[in-house]
């Protein structure tokens, strides 16, 4: 066996009394793509943070090209040629794309030619099939675009060992293809890549080997070739995962609960992002919204929930025009719930404990408070109940939610927004960062809500998920709905064509 490449030996990490990693071994030969799979909270991010110098291991050692290394800080990791794309975006929102990329780039001296960096960056982006404006400020970009910036940032640094922690969670399928192709090219150029993903098909498409983590230990380490995805899923969860299509009855009622007419709104840049969107959702119906990220989906969700001022059009709920209602009224009197795509920025207060994050939506109501007084004890009890029922993996509800794994944070948001029994549930990228088992659980919950008669708007870039749970699918493109079709008629080709309309426009 060659010593070239990375070796992790008996890596352990404990947080408090909790063993996040327990003697993890892993070997990644140079010039290969190595995937890490594992349930939410299995310890994938923790392991990578150790490799990137963000955490120090309690035990074990790291060998790079045969030499033991102590990686004391990200700076040291960079010196060793290690680059990392984090699961949650680490961009400075007020800086432009190219400024973010150049930020912290070593060897810049006193002269910094942003124009030249921008040119190089554009060339790099093109080679990966990403379309990006280097001079745009990051806060104005949709999430998918930000993820591309994050990827480019690492590639631009010319690292030899590239860690990718769920890099594709909000990329569109067409972009994922280009991205995976780019990874293959990097491998051909002799780079080593560690790739964390919950999407088994991506792993099957690019990885050479895969390490499966389960509750902090390695449960399998095998070649990807010849391992069917269902087998990988089984090793991840420790039981058979039946990826069946879920049972569905026809909509329970004909009552139109939500009626949107000609809704218009601007995005953060001030551009017209919603150019007159109209649709109905009946009680007990799931309307999917498919499309490439950044085509007005976020603005639609925010305009519906009152977080963004609509510029025109009407929103009706059970025949009542609620266009003028504020966020509070929409959430409480009208019963609109929202699972936002940006869970760290919008959906959670990271410094607060889990049980307080559970009451963010309804802290003014029973059982979280009575009158003006909070009821911490009963809030804890509620949170503990949700944690159990939604399988949130944590140590205690008094723990700051910052320290939960990404997938488990998402489960808590989901519990909070569903448990208040909404009339309209707007969910955006609900399965971002969830493992296969958790995705199944989320979809079961969504369907249970549907049975209850909730109107559901399900916005996602995951076509497969949309097709498996939705009653009808609206495709959005450039701020408009290009078509609403039933899943039976929604062959991937047909939807692809509706989405593709945009791609042709953009390339031309």
């Amino acid at each position: 066996m060659t010593a070239q490449g990375l070796r992790l030996e008996k890596i352990s990490k404990t947080f408090g009394d909790f063993k996040a990693l327990d003697g993890v071994d892993m070997t990644v030969p140079r010039g290969t793509v190595h995937a890490i799979l594992g349930e939410n909270g299995a310890g994938k991010t923790t392991l990578m943070n150790i490799l990137y110098g963000l955490y120090q291991p309690d035990g074990g050692r790291i060998l790079i090209d045969g030499a033991p290394q102590r990686i004391t800080s990200p700076r040291r990791a960079m010196e060793l040629g290690i680059g990392m794309i984090h699961q949650h975006l680490m961009l400075v929102e007020t800086l432009t794309v190219v400024e973010n990329v150049v930020l912290g780039l070593p060897g810049q001296g006193m002269r910094l030619s942003l124009a030249e960096h921008a040119r190089k960056l554009e060339a790099l982006a093109k080679s990966f099939g990403f379309d990006i404006d280097p001079h745009q400020e990051v806060w104005k970009l949709p999430m998918g675009m930000r993820q591309r910036v994050e990827i480019l940032k690492v590639l631009y640094r010319d690292a030899n060992l590239i860690i990718l922690d769920e890099p594709t969670s909000v990329l569109a399928p067409s972009e994922v293809e280009g991205f995976l192709e780019g990874l293959r090219r990097l491998r051909a150029a002799g780079k080593t890549i560690i790739f964390i993903s919950h999407k088994l098909d991506e792993v099957a498409a690019v990885a050479d080997r895969v390490t499966v983590l389960r509750r902090g230990t390695v449960s399998a380490d095998l070649a990807v070739a010849g391992t069917p995805p269902s087998e990988m899923a089984r090793m991840m969860v420790g039981r058979d995962v039946v990826l069946t299509t879920l049972e569905k009855t026809s909509p329970t009622s004909d009552e139109v609960l939500v009626r949107i007419r000609d809704l218009k709104a601007r995005d953060n840049r001030g551009n017209q992002a919603l150019k007159g969107v109209s649709f109905d959702i009946r009680a007990g119906e799931i309307l999917g919204v498919a499309g490439v990220d950044g085509n007005g989906q976020a603005e639609l969700a925010e305009a519906l929930t009152g977080l963004r001022q609509a510029e025109g059009g009407t929103v009706e709920l059970s025949g009542e025009d609620v266009s003028a209602a504020g966020v509070y009224e929409r959430r409480h009197r009208l019963g609109i719930s929202f699972v936002p795509e940006d869970r760290h920025g919008t959906g959670l207060v990271l410094d607060l404990p889990v049980y307080q994050n559970a009451m963010i939506r309804d802290f003014r109501e029973s059982p979280f408070s009575s009158g003006p007084m909070l009821r911490a004890a009963s809030a804890r009890k509620v949170a503990e109940d949700w944690v159990k029922r939604y399988d949130v993996r944590l140590q205690s509800v008094d723990q700051a939610i910052r320290f939960l794994s990404g997938g488990n944070q998402q489960k808590l948001i989901f519990a909070r927004e569903v448990e208040c029994r909404p009339r309209l549930l707007v969910i955006m990228q609900p399965c971002k960062g969830l493992d296969v088992g958790a995705i199944e659980a989320v979809h079961r919950t969504v369907l249970a809500e549907r049975e209850r008669g909730t109107a559901i708007l399900y916005i996602s870039t995951e076509l497969e998920h949309i097709l498996s749970v939705c009653d009808r699918v609206a495709v959005m493109c450039a701020g408009r709905i290009t078509g609403i079709i039933a899943p039976e008629e929604a062959t991937p080709e047909r939807i692809g064509a509706l989405i593709g309309g945009l791609e042709e426009e953009k390339v031309a």
Binding site: Y328, R331, P372, M373
Partner: protein, 368 residues
């Protein structure tokens, strides 16, 4: 053991204060005075002597209230540098209510004066609050600028329209004795203001900790986007918080006038509003710790004067010591406690201890 280290860590402003006093001892020695004697004068004078303690409590009233006027907005993510101006406006409005209104029964007029003072300060907080919430203008700049306006406004009023005839420098008529705040220690200057300050601190602590309003405010401070998402009207709350903070700053000025000075003097506050910022950081934004921090800081100021007189130190040395305290505390707060680091350190020590112990028994075992 870890718990003990955490406790030590929580008290780091205290350690910082002790260290700074140690450094200050060096300064005093250089100035040619025995540090032990000097500190005995300082602490004995400020905290152990009846009249000294009373002066400390009198000084604590404006410093504590100003501290609270900084702590409350800071917990909501707003930096109120304007407590000084709010103090002046409070003093102005309350003395106008005391001197210009027709004479009424004190039972009516005292509350009226207090209310007027709170309103004056509140108005001075409302302006930056409104500009921040609805115009996006930085509250730091506005509060600083409003300080100058308030200070000069008081100078003008006390030296012009309300100036006592024939006064040697700008001050108003004396407020009649019926409107003075009650004293809490006989034959001294210590007045009720400090008690009100402590009560307000407890109220603030209670609100932040146990009520929905406080929870919502804390959320704005920690993540305003999430606060909006949860249906909190962030703008309205920003305005309200700045009004309340301003009103508390206004009370500091009000009590200074009604409790201690009994006239509106120009430049009547020697920077209590800025001392409030120091208190906020000393107390680590905890309303319950604020009285302790304010008590200490006031004592340092009063005791500094006593020390200066008793042992003949120059006032610059005294001021330098106060500066040292502030710098040391600020530095100590920047020092972060990494639980993991300490735990690993302790574990290594335990292993070491076990190793040593094991070695000894082995040796003795071998010998017997």
């Amino acid at each position: 053991m870890l718990r003990a280290i955490q406790g030590i860590y929580m008290l780091r402003p205290v350690w910082a204060v002790l260290l700074s006093l140690l450094a200050g001892a060096g300064l005093i020695a250089i100035a040619g005075v025995n540090p032990g004697e000097a500190y005995a004068a300082l602490f004995g004078g400020a905290f152990l002597d009846y009249y000294g303690l009373a002066s400390t409590l009198a000084k604590m009233s404006p410093i504590l209230l100003a501290g609270l006027a900084v702590i409350i907005p800071l917990r909501v993510g707003l930096l109120n540098i304007g407590a000084e101006g709010q103090i002046y406006m409070g003093g102005l409005f309350s003395s106008m209510a005391a001197l210009l209104l027709p004479e009424m029964s004190p039972v009516v007029q005292v509350p009226l004066c207090v209310l007027a003072g709170a309103l004056g300060g509140g108005l001075w907080g409302l302006i930056p609050g409104y500009l921040k919430a609805y115009r996006g203008i930085n509250e730091v700049i506005i509060t600083i600028l409003l300080n100058f306006i308030a200070i000069n406004l008081v100078s003008y009023v006390a030296g012009g329209p309300m100036m006592q005839e024939g006064a040697p420098y700008p001050y108003s008529e004396e407020i009649r004795e019926g409107l003075w705040l009650p004293y809490i220690m006989p034959h001294t200057d210590a007045h009720l203001g400090v008690v009100v300050g402590i009560v307000l601190c407890v109220v603030a602590w209670f609100v932040f900790r146990f009520t929905t309003v406080g929870f919502g405010l804390g959320m704005i401070g920690k993540n305003p986007v999430a606060a909006t998402y949860s249906g909190i009207r962030v703008r309205r709350n920003v305005v309200a918080v700045m009004f309340v903070a301003g009103a508390i700053g206004g009370l500091a000025g009000t009590f200074e006038v009604l409790g201690l000075k009994h006239r509106l003097y120009h430049l009547f506050s020697p920077g209590y509003g800025f001392d409030g910022i120091v208190v906020a950081f000393l107390a680590q934004l905890s309303p319950l710790m604020a009285p302790v921090a304010a008590f200490f800081l006031s004592g340092l100021k009063v005791g500094g004067l006593i020390m200066q007189r008793a042992v003949g130190l120059e006032s610059t040395v005294v001021e330098a010591i106060q500066g040292l305290v502030i710098i040391f505390v600020a530095a100590s707060l920047a020092f972060r406690f990494d639980r993991g680091n300490w735990r690993r350190f302790l574990e290594r020590r335990r292993l070491l201890d076990a190793g040593i112990a094991g070695g000894i028994t082995n040796n003795s075992g071998g010998r017997s």
